[in-house]
C-alpha cells in the first residue's frame, strides 16, 4: 500500500516536472525562433497569400489583384531610375504578348513616381502591358519591397509561388510565366 502510493506520487511528480519543463522550453524556443525570423517574417514568403491591392493603371483601368483569381499574375515592382528594371521591362513586354492568352497577367507597379516620368519611360521602351503607380506606397509596404526590381509570381490560387529579387533575363521571364500558367 505505502509502496504503491509512493510510486504513484513519484509518477505524478515526473509528469508534473515534464509538463512544466516542456511549457517553459517551448515558450523559449518559440520566442528565440520568432525573434531570429522577425526580419524574414515581416517580408512575404513563398506560399503566403499575396496581399490584395487595387491601383489604377496608366490607361485609367482599375487593377485589382483578386480579380485575377484563376489566372497567374506576374507582378513586378520597379522605378524609372533603376537600371536593371529598364533592361528587363522590354523583355517582359515580349513575354506579356506570349502569355496573356495562356492566362498569365503581367502587372508592373511603379514606386511613387510622377505620371510624366512613368509615361516617358513607357513611351521610350514602347511598353504595352499594364503599369500602375503606387502613389502612397501602401502596396510597396504590404509587399515589403527591397530592392528594386522585385518580382512576385502569383499562382492561380492567389498564393505566392516565387519571389525574384533583381534582374531577370528574357528566358527567366518566360520560364517564370510558364510556371504560373493555370492548368
Amino acid at each position: 500500500m505505502e509502496v504503491s502510493k509512493l510510486a504513484q506520487s513519484k509518477k505524478r511528480r515526473f509528469y508534473m516536472r515534464t509538463a512544466i519543463l516542456a511549457v517553459l522550453v517551448v515558450a523559449i524556443v518559440f520566442t528565440v525562433y520568432s525573434n531570429l525570423n522577425k526580419e524574414k517574417n515581416a517580408v512575404l514568403q513563398v506560399g503566403d497569400k499575396a496581399p490584395d491591392f487595387v491601383l489604377v493603371d496608366m490607361d485609367g483601368t482599375e487593377r485589382r489583384l483578386s480579380d485575377y483569381k484563376g489566372q497567374g499574375v506576374f507582378l513586378n515592382f520597379w522605378g524609372t531610375w533603376c537600371k536593371p528594371c529598364a533592361k528587363e521591362m522590354p523583355a517582359m513586354d515580349n513575354q506579356y504578348g506570349e502569355y496573356t492568352d495562356q492566362g498569365v497577367q503581367t502587372l508592373a507597379i511603379n514606386i511613387g513616381e510622377s505620371d510624366l516620368k512613368v509615361n516617358s519611360f513607357l513611351n521610350r521602351y514602347g511598353l504595352t502591358f499594364p503599369i500602375a503607380i503606387d502613389r502612397n506606397k501602401s502596396v510597396m509596404e504590404s509587399y515589403n519591397i527591397d530592392p528594386l526590381p522585385t518580382t512576385f509570381l502569383i499562382n492561380p490560387e492567389g498564393k505566392i509561388e516565387k519571389i525574384i529579387k533583381g534582374e531577370m533575363t528574357e528566358q527567366d521571364i518566360a520560364n517564370f510565366m510558364d510556371q504560373i500558367k493555370p492548368s
Binding site: 513519484k10 512544466i20 519543463l21 522550453v25 528565440v32 522577425k38 490584395d52 510624366l116 516617358s120 502612397n136
Partner: protein, 552 residues
C-alpha cells in the same frame, strides 16, 4: 527514497532536516550543529532529494540557486560586452557587406572580430536570448521548489517544539525560574500587545509575527517572470511595431503596419532660440555654438481608409484628426504612436522658370514645375508654350547620349524641354540643368531661365506600437511589492515552553533584524519573569555572560 518518521510520529518527506511538526533534527549532520539552518525551515527542497530520471536532473540543475546566479553573471558579462562597440542597429548601413566594412573602417581589426563573432548583434542572438530564457526557467523552478515546501512546513509547525529544536535556535535561554501559569498568561498578553499572533498548546506558547514577509522573494520572482513573459510577447505578431517613415510636406503616405491609416504632412517646423528671447539661459551657448533648437514639429492630418479596404486605395480616405507631432509628444491612434524623430530641411519642391529670348532676355511668361508631379505641358501667353518631355530628378550625366538619374529624389533636377513660339511652331529643344543648359539639336533663340525654387521639409517619423507595456508595468509593480514585502517586514517567532522537569525554555528566531526580536523578548521576559537568553551566535556576548557567571 523513504519518508522519515520522526519520534513525534510526524511523517516527513525524504531530505527533511528538521521535523516539520516538532522541529527535532532528523539527521546526524543537523544534530551536530549548534544552531540550525532555518532558511527553509529545514524542509526538504525537492530538488535535493530525487535524482533519478533525466527530467529530475534537468529540474535539479535549474532549481539550484548557484546555477541561477551563474546564469545572471553570464548575462551580465554578455550584456556588458554588447556595449563595447555600437550594435548593428546604430550602424549607418543596411546590408551585410556595408556593415562589415563599417566595423572594419571605424574600429579596425577589433571591429572585424567583434562583427564576425556576432557581438555586433548580440542582443538578438539566439544564445543571448537563450540565456535569458534559462534565467526564466531557473526563476520558475527554483521558486516552485522552495515556496511549496516552505509553505507546507510553516503551515504544519506545531506550537510545542522539541527541546532539541529550541536549543539549536540562535536566541535561546533555559532556567529554573519561578514560572507559573500566571506568568505564561502575562507573556501571552504582552506578546499580543506587541502584535504577535499567539498560539497556546498546554505549557507551550508560539508567538509569530510577519510571516508574509517570507513570501517576498517569491512575489518578487513572480514579478520578474511576468516581466519576461511580456518581453516574450513582443516576438508575436501584432504586439510590437517599430517602423520609420519619411514624410514630405504635402505628401500623404500609408503608415506602415497600421490598419489602413494615412498621414499627411501639413508642415514641418524647426525653431531655434533667438538671442533676445532667451539671453539669460542660452545667450552664452548661442554665442558658442550658433543655434540651439527649440522645437521640432510636424503638423499632420490623419486619415483612415474605408473599412476592409485593400492596399493602393487612395480615394475615400476619411479625415480622422489634425495633430502636431513634437518630440516626445506623438500623435496616437489605435494603439499606435507616431513620434517625431528626424528631419531633412529644404528638399527641392518646385522650380520656377521663365521662357526668355536669349539675346534680349525678354520674358514670354513664367511657369512653375512641381517636382513631385511635373506636367507635360505649360501654356504661356500669346501662343508660347513649354513641353516637358522628360524629367531627371537626380541627374548624374549622360550615358551614350541618354540622361541618367540615380534616384527619384530631387537632388539635382534636370529637364528635357521643348519650347514652342510663333517663330518656332515645331519647337526648340533644350536640356535644362541647374546652372547649365545644353542645346542638343542646335542653337536656340529662346532659353529657359531659372527664376526661383520653393523647398519643402521632410519629417522622419517613428511608428510604434507596444501592447506589452501594461504587462511590463505589472511585472515591475509586483517585483517592487515583493522587494518591499521582504525588506520592510520580517518574520519573528518566539517560543516559550514549560518543561516537565520544571525548567523554562525561551527561544526566538527571525529572518532578519535580530535586535528587534531581542527587544521584544526583553519586554516579555520582564513582565513574565522568564529566564535570561543568550545569542548563541554573538560570541562576544556569550563570553561576557560566562564572565559574569564566573564572577570575574
Amino acid at each position: 527514497m523513504d519518508k522519515i518518521v520522526c519520534t513525534c510520529g510526524n511523517v516527513n518527506p525524504a531530505g527533511t532536516e528538521l521535523c516539520e511538526s516538532c522541529g527535532r533534527p532528523l539527521n546526524e549532520e543537523t544534530k551536530e550543529k549548534k544552531i540550525v539552518d532555518m532558511r527553509y525551515e529545514g524542509s526538504a527542497r525537492r530538488s535535493q532529494t530525487y535524482n533519478k530520471t533525466i527530467i529530475d536532473k534537468v529540474w535539479n540543475f535549474f532549481s539550484s540557486v548557484k546555477v541561477g546566479m551563474w546564469i545572471i553573471v553570464a548575462i551580465l558579462i554578455a550584456a556588458a560586452i554588447g556595449t563595447i562597440l555600437p550594435q548593428v542597429f546604430y550602424v549607418p548601413a543596411t546590408n551585410e557587406t556595408d556593415i562589415a566594412a563599417y566595423y572594419e573602417r571605424i574600429y579596425g581589426t577589433f571591429g572585424t572580430l567583434y562583427y564576425q563573432l556576432g557581438l555586433s548583434d548580440l542582443y538578438s542572438s539566439w544564445w543571448f536570448q537563450g540565456l535569458v530564457g534559462m534565467l526564466g526557467i531557473s526563476l520558475v523552478i527554483a521558486s516552485l521548489d522552495r515556496v511549496i515546501p516552505l509553505y507546507k512546513s510553516l503551515k504544519k509547525q506545531k506550537t510545542k517544539r522539541h527541546i532539541s529544536f529550541l536549543k539549536r535556535q540562535r536566541v535561546f535561554g533555559i532556567g529554573k525560574t519561578d514560572v507559573s501559569e500566571e506568568s505564561l498568561l502575562s507573556a501571552e498578553e504582552k506578546l499580543k500587545e506587541l502584535k504577535y499572533k499567539v498560539k497556546r498548546e498546554g505549557n507551550a506558547i508560539l508567538a509569530e509575527r510577519g510571516r508574509f514577509s517570507r513570501w517576498g522573494p517569491y512575489v518578487n520572482h513572480l514579478g520578474l517572470i511576468i516581466f519576461l513573459f511580456g518581453v516574450m510577447l513582443r516576438a508575436l505578431p501584432g504586439f510590437y511595431v517599430d517602423e520609420t517613415m519619411w514624410l514630405r510636406e504635402g505628401e500623404t503616405l500609408y503608415v506602415p503596419e497600421t490598419d489602413g491609416y494615412f498621414l499627411e504632412s501639413k508642415e514641418f517646423i524647426y525653431e531655434t532660440y533667438s538671442k533676445e528671447e532667451s539671453k539669460e539661459v542660452y545667450g552664452e551657448a548661442i554665442d558658442r555654438v550658433g543655434t540651439i533648437a527649440k522645437n521640432y514639429q510636424t503638423d499632420v492630418a490623419l486619415y483612415k481608409g474605408p473599412e476592409g479596404s485593400v492596399a493602393g486605395h487612395t480615394e475615400e480616405l476619411t479625415f480622422e484628426k489634425e495633430a502636431s507631432i513634437q518630440v516626445n509628444k506623438p500623435v496616437k491612434f489605435d494603439n499606435f504612436s507616431v513620434f517625431q524623430m528626424d528631419f531633412r530641411l529644404d528638399e527641392l519642391a518646385t522650380m520656377t522658370f521663365q521662357l526668355q529670348d536669349k539675346e534680349t532676355q525678354k520674358s514670354y511668361g513664367e511657369f512653375k514645375i512641381d517636382l513631385a508631379d511635373p506636367q507635360p505641358l505649360y501654356e504661356l501667353d500669346k501662343g508660347y508654350k513649354v513641353e516637358v518631355m522628360d524629367y531627371y530628378a537626380d541627374f548624374t550625366g549622360f550615358e551614350e547620349g541618354i540622361p541618367q538619374s540615380k534616384s527619384p529624389l530631387p537632388n539635382n533636377p534636370a529637364f528635357l524641354i521643348k519650347m514652342y513660339s510663333p517663330e518656332f511652331p515645331k519647337g526648340e529643344t533644350s536640356f535644362v540643368m541647374i546652372k547649365e543648359t545644353v542645346e542638343p539639336l542646335g542653337e536656340n533663340q529662346h532659353k529657359i531661365a531659372f527664376q526661383s525654387v520653393e523647398t519643402r521639409d521632410v519629417s522622419g517619423l517613428t511608428v510604434r506600437k507596444d501592447l506589452t507595456l501594461p504587462l511590463l508595468a505589472l511585472g515591475g509593480l509586483i517585483f517592487m511589492i515583493g522587494v518591499a514585502q521582504g525588506s520592510y517586514w520580517n518574520h519573528r517567532r518566539i517560543w516559550v515552553q514549560l518543561l516537565e522537569d520544571g525548567q523554562t525554555v525561551i527561544a526566538a528566531h527571525t529572518n532578519k533584524n535580530w535586535l528587534s526580536v531581542k527587544r521584544d523578548l526583553d519586554k516579555v521576559t520582564e513582565v513574565a519573569h522568564l529566564p535570561k537568553y543568550l545569542d548563541q551566535q554573538d560570541t562576544d556576548s556569550l563570553e561576557e555572560k560566562v564572565d559574569i557567571e564566573e564572577g570575574v
